[in-house]
């Protein structure tokens, strides 16, 4: 299957410090990939490079066969590369319906309209209802975001991302900070993501990674040290070294 998302030899340095070194990833539609790595592995920089927030020193990002390395962050979203945020960044004074409505309007090129309201646009409302229902947020559709629970805000983040009809979805720790009781809902939402969507999830929680991903990529010190099946990741010597190196050393001393 042809790749919908490709990163080729991506490299970025700040001054003399190389934070992302020669990273290459290729994903096909429907892929479920988890990107993991110890703290300071360069995951955040990688996300910023891919979304176009910062430019790479060298290398290439391709989206649906088109090179988008020189396209800015907004252009990449419009071409189908959508991200969610590690900590929810929702508009506190707006309602879930408005969030999803705004995303649908933006995607369909109507966010600049000076009259009317999405509440009276049947096609937009149909989509808003469908998405909010799917994520179990329909009851809260007209509440202010500041009044709804954190777990529900995370679900709303996913709803907003889906409303943009992405080809590639970058999920930055979708369950971070959510109480244990609510993670089930989020996992269900992740399991229900459209089948043809390529999903790259950045995550710390290994349980979630193993349940969600069909493929795991491990980033350490800015380079990919593992790219393969979840079952193999814990057996890999370099991964053990990257994650357990310090502990192994500590126990040795003790």
């Amino acid at each position: 299957m042809s790749a919908v998302f490709e990163v080729k030899n991506l490299k970025r340095s700040f001054g003399g410090l190389v934070v992302t070194n020669d990273v290459s990833i290729s994903m096909a539609p429907g892929d479920r990939v988890a990107l993991i790595g110890p703290n300071g592995a360069g995951k955040t920089t990688f996300v910023n490079l891919v979304t176009g927030t910062i430019p790479p020193s060298s290398g290439e990002v391709r989206l649906g066969g088109e090179t988008v390395t020189k396209v800015d962050a907004i252009g990449r979203v419009r071409r189908g590369l959508v991200r969610s945020f590690q900590v929810t960044r929702l508009f506190q004074d707006m309602t879930p319906a408005e969030h999803v409505g705004l995303a649908v309007l933006q995607r369909s090129g109507r966010a600049g309209r000076l009259f009317g309201s999405f509440l009276t646009m049947p096609d937009v409302m149909a989509e808003v209802s469908e998405l909010l229902e799917k994520l179990g947020l329909a009851e809260l559709a007209h509440r202010k975001v500041s009044e709804i629970a954190y777990g529900q805000q995370r679900l709303l983040e996913i709803a907003v991302a889906l409303a943009l009809k992405p080809k590639v979805l970058l999920l930055d720790e979708p369950a971070a900070g959510v109480p244990q009781s609510d993670t089930g809902r989020i996992e269900q939402a992740l399991a229900d993501l459209p089948k043809d969507l390529a999903v790259l999830m950045i995550e710390h929680d290994m349980d979630l990674v193993f349940r969600f991903a069909k493929r795991v990529i491990v980033l350490a010190a800015g380079t990919i040290i593992f790219d393969g099946l979840p079952a193999d990741v814990t057996k890999d010597a370099r991964v053990r070294e990257a994650y357990l190196g310090s502990y192994a050393h500590a126990s040795h001393v003790a």
Partner: protein
């Protein structure tokens, strides 16, 4: 199936009766206009001036209240409209009040575009300073181009024709007053539609988190530029009204003081609400008229105290605080 039906109804529920509130707003404006006409028949000039400034403050509310751009140079858009309308009449003999208003709207929009292009290059304090620099630049430019603007003597020789060829702009200011009321009502209704529109929603999003808006694939700067142009058109309407009703344009129309006062009025009433902008303008201007007649310096002290008091005790402004109080009471009684 039933569940889906239920959800359908939750989502398409019409919210808070916004059309009802539009209607109430229009009625309130008309009632106040009538009251003003009955109570102050000899002071229609002041009331018309309040209408013109109200348009400026509404326009400022669009960029400051709805988009979160703080500016101390908004009179640039107002003054551009005033000069355009004035110059059309004084230099080109285009005296039709509607054409003059159109000229003001156009010039205001162009000035808005210019200000947006420059101001959106920076954020925070530098942006505020840019707005100040811009208003001084406009002011100096108008002062220098005295063959067009009359410089510091002001632009005279503005002689608007009768409205519809019937209603002359009389000495008592009746026609100007009704003309102003009509403009304000039209603008108010259009802005109510605007702030509810998809674009209005986009702008509210930009005010809260421009980065999030970018991640949704929309360009905050493009939207802000568009809002600035709209805001310029509104301020230009106010400027044109001021030129038509007073038949002169003074350099003050393009001053830092006018900009700062507009901001004070907006905050006094409450940002992010059209009613707040109107309330702030009305209260400030009436207050100013009574106090400054006595002693301009005491007036300054009182505005200062007023500002400090608003910041400390009513940060949402008079209308905002009152609205919050009543909605709390309503929730409490439920």
């Amino acid at each position: 199936m039933t569940v889906a039906m239920n959800n359908q109804t939750t989502l398409s529920r019409p919210r808070g009766g916004s059309f009802k509130r539009d209607l109430i707003g229009v009625i309130v404006i008309i009632v106040f206009a009538a009251l003003g006409y009955v109570l102050f028949p000899d002071n229609l000039a002041l009331l018309t001036r309040i209408l013109a400034v109200a348009l400026l403050v509404l326009s400022l509310d669009l960029v400051t209240g709805y988009c979160g751009v703080a500016t101390l140079g908004h009179a640039a858009l107002f003054g551009s409209g005033a000069y355009a309308a004035g110059i059309l009449s004084a230099h080109y003999g285009i005296n039709d009040p509607f054409l003059m208003t159109m000229g003001g709207i156009g010039a205001g929009a162009v000035a808005g575009l210019l200000c947006a292009v420059i101001m959106l290059r920076a954020h925070g304090l530098p942006q505020l300073v840019l707005s100040i620099a811009l208003i001084y630049l406009f002011h100096e430019f108008a002062n220098k181009a005295s063959s067009w603007t009359g410089g510091s003597d002001g632009l005279a020789g503005i002689m608007p024709d009768a409205v519809f060829g019937i209603y002359e702009f009389d000495l008592y200011g009746h026609t100007a007053y009704f003309f102003g009321i009509a403009l304000l009502l039209i603008v108010f209704v259009l802005l109510r539609i605007l702030v509810r529109s998809p674009f209005g929603m986009l702008c509210r999003g930009i005010k809260e988190d421009p980065l999030r808006i970018r991640a949704m694939g929309a360009s905050p700067n493009a939207a802000l530029t568009k809002m600035y142009v709209i805001s310029g058109a509104v301020a230009g309407t106010g400027g044109a009204l001021s030129a038509i009703s007073t038949q002169v344009v003074a350099l003050d129309a393009l001053s830092f003081t006018q900009s700062a006062e507009a901001l004070v009025m907006l905050v006094l009433g409450g940002t992010g609400s059209l009613f707040g902008a109107l309330a702030g303008t009305l209260i400030f201007m009436l207050f100013e008229d009574y106090v400054s007649a006595a002693n301009p310096f005491h007036w300054l002290t009182m505005v200062g105290v007023l500002l400090i008091a608003v910041v400390l005790f009513a940060p949402k402004g008079i209308y905002g605080t009152a609205a919050a109080y009543f909605s709390r009471r309503r929730e409490g009684s439920q």
